[in-house]
C-alpha cells in the first residue's frame, strides 16, 4: 500500500470483518480520483435454488430457512408466501398476525446484534464488541438483553430461537396458548424501553458527512410498517405486485462475486433495507417510533448511510412495540394452519428481512414439486449501491491514512448490514492509490 501524494494508491482489505460471510474490497485511486471499487464476494455458492428443484413445495420453508442463521424467518415467510400464492390460498388474519409476531422476534434479534455487536464499535473506535464491552459494559449488556428478549419471542412462537421449527406452509404446526403469549408482554415492554435508550445512544455518535443518491425500494402496505407482506414501492413511484417485481429484477453475474448483482430492468441500481423502508414508510410508524426518530434528529427520509444505525434503532423500537401490540391482541389461530392443496402454478413471495427485501419465486408441477426456484436476497440487491457508497466514501476521505480509510470503508459496508452468506452468495479490502 502507498499513501499520501503518490500518484497511485491502493487500499486492500483482505478480510472484511463484522459482516455475515466472506468477502474483500479492492479500491484504486489515480490522481486523486477513485477509479475502481470492487466488492469481491468469494464465499462459495450455496446452490439453494438448485436444492429446491424436485423437492415438495411444502419443504421449501425448512430448506430455505437454512440459508441464514440470522434471518431464517425471512426465508420461511417468503417461501410460505410463494407456495401459498402458487396454490391460490390466502391464510387467516390470525395466522398473518402470528407470522408478523414471529418476524418481529427476528427483527429484534438481528437489529440488536447488528447495532451493538457489529456496527457500534466502528463509531466508538473499538475493534470489536469485546473492546466495546470494556469501554461501555452497560451498552453491551443492554444490547444482549434486547437480543435475549427477541430470542424468547422466537422460541415462544417459533419453537426455538434459531431456525424455528413451528412454521409450515399455510401457517403453523401449533399455536401457543394465550397465556404463553401474554407472558411476553412484560419482557417486550422492557425491550421497547431498552430500544428507546438505544436510539438515544446511537443518535449521539459522530457520523461522517455523506449523502447517498438512493433509489429506495421496499415493501409498502396501507396500514402497517411493512414486515411480512405488501406491494413493492420505490422512491420514484413504482408500485408493483410481487409477480411484477420478479419480472423487473434483473440479476447478472460478475466475475468478482459469487453473489449475483441485481438491478431493476431498464433502471439504475437500488437500495433495500432499513433506509429504504424508513424512507417509504416512516409516516406510518407507530407514534413511539416516530417520536424517537424525531428526537434523534431524523427527518422522514435519511440519505446519510452512516445514520442507518439510527434508523435501525428506530426500527428496533417499532419491532418491540409492534410485537407488544400483537401480543396484546393475540387470538390463537384455530386451526393453526390453513390447508394448502398444491397444484401446478407459479407463486411469488416477498417479505422484509431485517436487512432488506427478500423475494422467492417458485414454479410447481401438478404433484406440488418445485420445478424452478428463484431467490433474490437483500445483499444481492444492495451490492451495486454498496459499491457506489464506497466510491463516495473513498473520494471524500482520501486524506485519511490507508489504515483509517480501510476502516471507514468497512464501516460503510456495515452500514447496510450485508449478509454475504445469504447472497452467495464476503470482505477483504485493497485500496490502490496512484
Amino acid at each position: 500500500m502507498t499513501h499520501g501524494s503518490s500518484v497511485h494508491r491502493t487500499v486492500s482489505i483482505e478480510g472484511l470483518s463484522r459482516v455475515e460471510g466472506e468477502g474483500s474490497l479492492h479500491v484504486e485511486v489515480r490522481d486523486g480520483v477513485v477509479e475502481q471499487v470492487a466488492l469481491n464476494i468469494f464465499e462459495p455458492p450455496r446452490f439453494f435454488e438448485a436444492f429446491l428443484r424436485g423437492r415438495g413445495a411444502l419443504e421449501a420453508p425448512d430448506i430455505t430457512a437454512r440459508i441464514c442463521g440470522i434471518c431464517p424467518v425471512a426465508y420461511q415467510m417468503s417461501a410460505c408466501a410463494a407456495v401459498e400464492d402458487a396454490a391460490g390460498v390466502t391464510v387467516s388474519p390470525a395466522v398473518t398476525d402470528m407470522r408478523r409476531l414471529l418476524y418481529c422476534g427476528e427483527w429484534i434479534q438481528s437489529h440488536a446484534l447488528h447495532i451493538y455487536l457489529l456496527h457500534a464499535p466502528d463509531f466508538l473506535g473499538c475493534a470489536d464488541a469485546v473492546e466495546l464491552a470494556e469501554l461501555d459494559r452497560a451498552a453491551v449488556e443492554r444490547g444482549l438483553a434486547i437480543k435475549k428478549i427477541g430470542n424468547l419471542l422466537m422460541a415462544t412462537v417459533g419453537g426455538r430461537a434459531i431456525h424455528p421449527v413451528n412454521v409450515r406452509v399455510g401457517g403453523f404446526y401449533s399455536a401457543p396458548a394465550p397465556p404463553e403469549i401474554a407472558a411476553l408482554a412484560d419482557p417486550l415492554r422492557r425491550a421497547r424501553d431498552l430500544a428507546l435508550e438505544t436510539v438515544s445512544w446511537v443518535a449521539g455518535f459522530d457520523f461522517p458527512d455523506m449523502a447517498g443518491d438512493y433509489h429506495f425500494v421496499s415493501l409498502r402496505s396501507p396500514r402497517h410498517y411493512p414486515i411480512e407482506s405488501g406491494r413493492i414501492a420505490s422512491s420514484d413511484g413504482l408500485d408493483l405486485s410481487p409477480s411484477a417485481f420478479n419480472q423487473m429484477v434483473v440479476e447478472e453475474h460478475v466475475a468478482r462475486s459469487t453473489a449475483l448483482h441485481a438491478r431493476l430492468a431498464g433502471q439504475r441500481d437500488y437500495l433495500t433495507g432499513p433506509l429504504a423502508r424508513y424512507a417509504l414508510n416512516s409516516s406510518i410508524l407507530p407514534q413511539v417510533a416516530r417520536e424517537a426518530a424525531t428526537a434523534a434528529g431524523l427527518g422522514p427520509v435519511v440519505t446519510n448511510p452512516f445514520q442507518s444505525i439510527v434508523v435501525r434503532a428506530v426500527e428496533l423500537v417499532f419491532a418491540c412495540d409492534e410485537a407488544l401490540r400483537l401480543v396484546e391482541s393475540y387470538e390463537a389461530p384455530n386451526p393453526p394452519a390453513t390447508d394448502v392443496p398444491l397444484r401446478a402454478g407459479v407463486g411469488f413471495g416477498v417479505s422484509e428481512a431485517p436487512r432488506g427485501l427478500l423475494l422467492h419465486a417458485y414454479t410447481l408441477d401438478a404433484a406440488g414439486d418445485i420445478t424452478t426456484a428463484r431467490i433474490v436476497p437483500p445483499t444481492s440487491q444492495n451490492q451495486i449501491t454498496i459499491e457506489a457508497d464506497l466510491r463516495r466514501v473513498v473520494q471524500g476521505a482520501l486524506d485519511l491514512s490507508d489504515a483509517d480509510l480501510g476502516l471507514r470503508c468497512e464501516q460503510a459496508v456495515r452500514n447496510h448490514d450485508p449478509c454475504i452468506s445469504c447472497a452467495a452468495h464476503f470482505l477483504d479490502i485493497m485500496v490502490v492509490r496512484a
Binding site: 459482516v19 470489536d128 464491552a133 470494556e134 459494559r137 434459531i162
Partner: protein, 178 residues
C-alpha cells in the same frame, strides 16, 4: 431429545440456594448421528446431577452468556473430529488469557461473521461484561459418522459414558453433585 430452554439462568432452583452454580451445555444435532454425542452426554449428566442447569442444543452461541452468568463451573460438551479414535474424550479448560485482545491471527477468524462467534469470542465477551464462569471446561467426544440419521456408533456411545463420568467428577469437585 427435545430442546431445553436455554439462556435463562434462573430456570433451576439453584440460584436461590447457597451452592456452587454449575452450567452444562451441549452442542450438536441428534439427527446427524455421532454429532449428537454431546447432547447424549448432557442428558446423562442431567440425570445424575439434577441440580445443575443444563441447556442445549445451543443454537446461538451468545445464548451461553445468559446461562453462564458468573457460574462457578461451566461445561460445554460437543462431538469433535480430530482424527483420534472414535469415543476418545478430550478435556480442555479454557485459558483466562483468552480474555486478552486477540492477536491478528485470532482476529482473522473470530470477528469475521456473526455466524462465526465461537466459544472463544463468547468467553472474551463474557469476561468483558463480568459474566464469565470461574472455570470453563470443554469436553469433546470424538465422533466417527456425522451423516444423516439418529443413533451413535458403539465406540462413541462408550465415549459418551466416559465423558459423562468426567463431567460428573468435575461437578463433584465444586460440590454440586454427589
Amino acid at each position: 431429545m427435545t430442546d431445553t430452554v436455554i439462556g435463562d439462568p434462573v430456570s433451576k432452583a439453584s440460584r436461590s440456594e447457597d451452592l456452587p452454580r454449575v452450567v452444562v451445555a451441549a452442542m450438536g444435532s441428534e439427527y446427524r448421528r455421532d454429532d449428537g454425542a454431546g447432547l447424549a452426554a448432557m442428558a446423562m449428566v442431567a440425570e445424575q446431577c439434577p441440580d445443575v442447569l443444563v441447556g442445549g442444543p445451543l443454537c446461538d452461541p451468545l445464548d451461553v452468556l445468559g446461562m453462564w452468568d458468573g457460574a462457578d463451573l461451566a461445561v460445554i460438551i460437543d462431538a469433535v473430529s480430530s482424527g483420534a479414535p472414535p469415543g476418545t474424550v478430550h478435556l480442555v479448560e479454557l485459558d483466562p488469557a483468552l480474555s486478552r485482545p486477540p492477536d491478528d491471527d485470532q482476529r482473522s477468524v473470530g470477528p469475521n461473521s456473526t455466524h462465526g462467534i465461537g466459544l472463544v469470542g463468547v468467553y472474551r465477551l463474557a469476561r468483558a461484561i463480568g459474566r464469565a464462569p470461574a472455570k470453563v471446561v470443554v469436553v469433546g467426544i470424538e465422533g466417527l459418522d456425522f451423516g444423516q440419521g439418529v443413533g451413535l456408533n458403539a465406540a462413541v456411545q462408550e465415549g459418551v459414558t466416559h465423558a459423562t463420568r468426567h463431567v460428573v467428577e468435575l461437578i463433584g469437585e465444586v460440590g454440586r453433585c454427589a
